[in-house]
Symmetry: C2
Subunit: 209 residues, 2 copies
């Protein structure tokens, strides 16, 4: 005998499958929110289902386990149109963009949750690294190379080491500084580090000359 | 009616209180081990008592709650004679010392556990910062200033920013690099960063000249 689920699976699906997509989004949103609020260890499939207003079975039909669900939920946080992926005008623009992102407490906590569970849920940081290497790492590199070409950074500077230091500086800021700093303060933090590498931005004034 | 505990509390204590000290150490060791193995969230007073071979009451007599216990257990990890506190010969010596410490997987996991629970157990990172600011921060600063005075770092370098970058680099290494790197590889990682700041160590050969 066929169940209604079987019938639904065989029936031609209406365009967009609104009800299923709604459940998808509710599940991923609940998972992301719980990851931020209480971390991966404390989050259960049961809690996610409850908050999303679906049954556990509905969640398990989509994700084999909690880790798979959380990895997918992380992608949701990346779904926004990321200006980083199109590159930045210059380093000033890049640091302004970074500072804007990590001045938002919710973003700070999410990143800490990902970095903080590397020993229990290495899949989360792997998913994060995959999203941040590739295209994103390439545009950071391009921005640093462009600055070097313009003479804003010393000719001998190793842009890969600088990119690596900046990634660590982001994490260092997340765990070592208060969550109430403004984007301006955080941008100044990056610029202070860059200054030690010999970064001397071409000001708009001097460009005119 | 007095309990044996009350009597024990009133009786003159034998020098060293060996049995009590033994329990102290067993409790703190169990707490530190569990913190490393499974993190603060997953660790309970009950587990600590079980592993230490004491009753829960024995633990609660010493510590008001899990957080107080874990903070004290963290001190245990610092109890070893720390060569850092007496200062280093030079930056090469300092980075060798740091690299030795963070090449030990157990140390790496412990630090990740502390940094990873900043949202749930801020007391842990506070205790860590307290142990690492003060004297320890001062000797790092001294080593950087000495290097600058010797001409190993550019005269204009801001040693506080460099110290901050290095702290972040440690955390970046803990979360971004594999746990099987040798102390030599990790030392090279620090030196690569320092090179970008214009660090040019005075070699023993050139000292002779």
């Amino acid at each position: 005998m066929m169940t209604t689920d079987d019938l639904a699976a065989r029936a031609p699906r209406p365009a967009g499958r609104p009800r299923s997509q709604e459940a998808d989004l509710a599940i991923l949103t609940a998972a992301l929110d719980l990851l931020i609020e209480q971390g991966a260890t404390q989050t259960s499939i049961e809690q996610v289902a409850k908050r999303a207003g679906v049954t556990r079975a509905t969640v398990y039909r989509r994700y084999a386990d909690k880790t798979a669900l959380l990895v997918q939920a992380l992608q949701l946080a990346h779904h926004d149109d990321d200006p980083a992926l199109t590159g930045w005008r210059d380093l000033d623009d890049m640091f302004g963009d970074w500072a804007g992102h990590i001045s938002v407490p919710r973003n700070r906590v999410l990143l800490r949750r990902v970095f903080g569970t590397v020993d229990d849920y290495p899949e989360l940081i792997r998913a994060y690294h995959e999203a941040n290497t590739g295209r994103r790492a390439a545009v950071v590199r391009e921005a640093l190379l462009l600055a070097r070409d313009r003479g804003e950074l010393p000719a001998h500077i190793d842009v890969d080491v600088v990119a690596d230091v900046l990634s660590s500086a982001v994490i260092g800021h997340l765990v070592g500084r208060p969550d109430d700093q403004s984007a301006e303060q955080i941008k100044a933090y990056f610029l202070t580090i860059m200054k030690q590498f010999g970064y001397r931005p071409v000001t708009k004034g001097s460009e005119k000359i």
